[in-house]
């Protein structure tokens, strides 16, 4: 049997509104992207060839799922027209279906199944009417039934539920967290049931973890936090000192500031959603919620002064090399006003290694417009999801904390590193981090 999974954009417009940075087909339910549940069900029903159809972009999904080789199936991608009905879907994929048995899943629905039961008999049922349906989608079997029905094992129960709002998303995620490890094929390692922890996760000794809980990759859980019961933490998340997270979902790439209490909420980036009413709150500062810390002006003044001092020292140290190399590079046309100069030639490489490309920016530190270290001030930021650059904690700077940590400067996980350090920085630590950034650039590669 083959499976066609056809999902029209009209059924998941709410995902764009609630989680703009997330592709709807990759939206995690508990710790697994939505589309993988459908693929798992297709596999349990005996499909070795699965095709995904959408009237929207599939590039991101293709990057995630690939050719299907990791599930041992052939996964292909095609497109549908928003007005297509089921017959048109079959016509448009005639070569794929090949006149054989095909299961068609339509709509943006969650299928509840049980991985310990068998769904292989779906290939043999002789019916043309949908075998399951809900508003916005169906499961239908088309084409001649395959022979070899097994009389002994009756078809295991399954059902579909529309995933049509933040409310249903929250409910299904929580149910999956509670029953998932036995019913669904969930990723991750769990030394004990109802507790899954991803790779590269740091949990402080004084943090408490209460089951059931699911934690993604690259997560930091800082001292005196309480995670759970019923907490789903995505990947690249920092939960700062003294927080408690229960009955809640923290979406990927979110920073939770100090001493916050998150109960029955969804936190995504700088947005907090109440899953019962659907009300959402978007904070101005890009770091969700920095706690009730009032920003003392004297502390800012102290930081600015120390940063300016450090910049002055660097200016003095770099002055001679700059005077020597700048005219040379300028003459060769290799000097770019873009601070992130591309190193070409020996002189260029040397200039970048000793961070001369940032030399002009140091003056801005002395005038207080930039910090010496903070968030990357890169003008052309790659990555598909951008984070707002304003706010009291996103301090544009000559060097970035990501550089000091030797983290890839592009991408959302660098943003998390920068947020974390921005909250925990002290002027003295900043100087240390600046030196680290300088050393990293000096020793990088060449």
């Amino acid at each position: 049997m083959k499976t066609l999974i056809a999902i029209k954009e009209q059924y998941h417009t709410w995902v764009h509104e609630a989680f703009p940075a997330m592709h709807p087909l990759l939206l995690p339910l508990c710790n697994k992207p939505f589309i993988e549940y459908l693929i798992d069900f297709a596999i349990l029903a005996g499909s070795r060839e699965v095709r995904l159809l959408s009237d929207g972009q599939l590039t991101e999904v293709e990057e995630h799922c690939g050719t299907g080789s990791r599930w041992g199936i052939e996964l292909s991608y095609a497109n549908l027209h928003p007005a297509d009905d089921q017959q048109q879907l079959l016509d448009k994929n005639r070569k794929f279906c090949g006149g054989g048995r095909t299961m068609i899943l339509t709509g943006y629905n969650f299928i509840s199944y049980n991985k310990q039961k068998s769904y292989l008999d779906l290939a043999t049922i002789a019916t043309d009417t949908p075998i399951a349906s809900c508003p916005g989608g169906t499961i239908t079997l088309k084409g001649p039934p395959e022979s070899g029905a097994s009389e002994k094992s009756p078809l295991a129960p399954f059902s579909i539920t529309p995933l049509d709002s933040v409310q249903s998303y929250f409910r299904i995620s929580m149910e999956t967290l509670q029953t998932g490890s036995s019913r669904y094929v969930l990723p991750g390692y769990g030394s004990e049931p109802d507790c899954s922890i991803g790779k590269n996760v740091i949990i402080s000794k004084t943090a408490q973890i209460r089951k059931p809980v699911s934690i993604g990759d690259n997560v930091q859980i800082l001292p005196k936090t309480i995670i759970g019961p019923s907490a789903i933490i995505g990947s690249n998340v920092v939960i700062d000192n003294g927080c408690s997270v229960s009955g809640s979902i923290i979406i990927d790439n979110t920073y939770i500031g100090e001493n916050l209490e998150i109960d029955m909420r969804i936190a995504a980036g700088n947005t907090l959603i109440d899953p019962t009413s659907g009300v959402s709150l978007t904070m101005e500062d890009p770091h969700l919620l920095v706690g009730i810390k009032t920003w003392a002006t004297t502390a800012i003044l102290k930081r600015k002064t120390i940063h300016a001092l450090a910049a002055t020292i660097l200016l003095v140290l770099q002055f001679i090399p700059f005077i020597l190399l700048f005219p040379l590079l300028k003459l060769q046309g290799k000097w770019k006003d873009d601070p992130y100069m591309q190193e070409t030639g020996l002189a260029g490489a040397l200039a970048v290694a000793i961070s001369l490309d940032r030399f002009p920016l140091l003056l801005k530190v002395i005038t207080g417009k930039l910090d010496i270290i903070g968030s990357s001030s890169r003008s052309t930021c790659a990555g598909k999801h951008s984070y707002p650059d304003s706010g009291p904690l996103s301090r544009l700077a000559v060097f970035s904390y990501a550089e000091a940590e030797d983290w890839p400067v592009n991408g959302s996980d660098a943003a998390i590193v920068e947020r974390f350090h921005a909250v925990h920085s002290t002027p003295i630590k900043d100087i240390g981090m600046t030196i680290k950034a300088l050393i990293n650039r000096l020793t990088k590669g060449r």
Binding site: L260, S277, L281, I292, T294
Partner: protein
């Protein structure tokens, strides 16, 4: 920010109407104005029914006002929080510091019921 004084059972309660957005740009104004109000009475009600949005610095300011009120043996009570504003209070545990009422009238009346607020943190 409209402000009026109500006298109930011999207690003067100041009712301040906060409106629009209380964020970093304008929270210092509240800080200054609140000290003026507290010159008149230590018992204040912040009527938030027209307050659409509050961020962490706005919240910090309100908590600061409360601290001053408590120093003077007064209190600040909140009324009419919308869902978004309420969410900020819950999230930051600041909810535990305040008595919250559905409307300004109830909040003011509660001062009359127990004039000497023995609020502890």
């Amino acid at each position: 920010m409209a402000f009026r004084l109500d006298t109930l059972n011999g207690i003067t309660v100041g009712i301040a109407e906060l409106n629009g957005r209380l964020v970093a740009e304008n929270s210092t104004i509240l800080q200054k104005t609140c000290s003026d109000w507290q010159q008149k009475t230590p018992f204040l009600v912040f009527d938030c029914s027209n307050l659409d949005f509050i961020d962490s610095s706005g919240l910090g300011t309100i908590v600061g006002c409360l601290r001053k009120a408590l120093e003077k043996n007064g209190d600040i009570k909140l009324a009419g929080l919308n869902a978004k504003v309420a969410m900020v209070f819950e999230l930051t545990k600041a909810k535990k510091l305040f008595s919250i009422f559905s409307n300004a009238g109830e909040a003011a009346a509660s001062f009359a019921a127990s004039p000497v607020s023995s609020k502890t943190q």
